[in-house]
Amino acid sequence: MSGVRIRPAGERAVVVELEPGAEVHALAAAVRERWGPAAEEVVPGERSLLVCWRAGGGERRELATALSALAEQVAGAGAPPAGGAPAPLRIPVRYDGPDLDAVATATGLTVAQVIARHTAPTYTAAFIGFAPGFAYLTGGDPVLALPRRATPRVRVPAGAVAIAARYSAVYPSTGPGGWHLLGHTSLTLFDPRATPPVLIQPGMQVRFEAI
């Protein structure tokens, strides 16, 4: 099978297109192991992986060929055994968000049902973007999939637990945002002085718990 598509992204980067999910994160791990710090940026997307090599790391076409072989290998290996995965990160949530009633109305559910459906799944951090530590969590209940708010808020507090489209997220820092706010957590999602600075890493499994 040669289903892996690799596209150039400038002189020393490529984008590998993949099936969404475990494969992206498995390939990210394999790339870090294969190239170490020479693979300067290894950035998961929803169904892709961007790899930027350091200057002088090699000729792009040769790197792309090696990466293609690695991607085939990872795809061929299939999903890792479920027993080996670490337990999901548990995020305690107080479901008191300002959009809870509106979400219930829009989905035809009661508030209690919205909370039940939001706390039921195990989510995967598909990729991080928008802001440091802002993880796009996939695997949520499709009934809760709503378009973003028509008018974004100027100020969403850090720790706000929110939904939009097929995603859930926790706002790591206070700032503008257009997602529906269901509640909040007291966990710190982004702390530049902490190691690691970001709580939810790409590929991590996450569950929300109502408190």
């Binding site: 596209r7 400038g10 002189e11 984008v15 990210a28 892709s48 961007l50």
Partner: protein, 315 residues
Amino acid sequence: MSAWAATGPALEVLAPGLLTTVQDLGRPGLAHLGIPRSGAADRTSLRRANLLVGNAPGAPALEAVGAGLRLMAVDGDVLIALTGAPVDAMVDGVPLAMDAATVLGDGATLTLGAPADGIYTYLACAGGILVEPVLGSCSRDVLSALGPAPLTKGQLLLLGDPLGDPEPQTARVGCPPTFSILDGPLSAPFPVLPPPTLIGGQPTLAVLLGPDDEFFDQQAIDSLLTQPFTVSPKSNRVGLRLSGPSLPTRGSNERASAGLAHGSLQVPPSGQPILMLADHPTTGGYPVIAVLAERDLDRAAQLRVGQTVRFRARR
């Protein structure tokens, strides 16, 4: 960090100018956590300024935008160099040349005018600017508000020890000395200054098509590679907004969010491309028609609002 105990010369900020930040070469390797690389918008000019004053090329220096930065040397002389966007610089009323190391005497005041061309002027000081790094870098990221806040009036900028070595010298590019008389203990490799960044004019910048060029029809590709684009207002360290012929996609303008490389030309639904610069977001949901060649990134960052630019494809 023993350098924090330094009690050598410092710079007092008499006026911060329009926007002056501390910049080094940024915080690479964290994009997967949503943390942009940041760093000097024009990295060549940062390296050049640092090498002129004997620093490691990536030492923290000042990046000034617009006119009005005024600094006074206190508690000693400071070796300085200005590179990047050319400005009328004065030391106590006497013009100061760009691209040369100069001693700013104790008590003397440096004033920067508005750049004649370009955006970012770099001021390196021997020893580097001493600020606390955040995630391994002293750079201010204007998108994520990481790193030291922009300069404010009255602030005192401490400097590192010029004889101490804030960074290993391995990053320096050496060349053999021309004169054999220099052989011996004094024959440290000469640092090779990068050439000044080309600033001004109507540049043609090299791009590599992709990764999402297949989202666009041939007409859009042709427009990108033959028509001029103008730099729009609201351009900054995050990105350069360009206006020109619309670059429509064949079908949907949205694709699954993917990592963004430095220099990506991302095309939002407006059809007007945005060139991703130092503080660009780490992922994006719109197609990237092409990515700028690395050697043209610095020149692109120095483009001013209203300046026109063209793109040519390279393989």
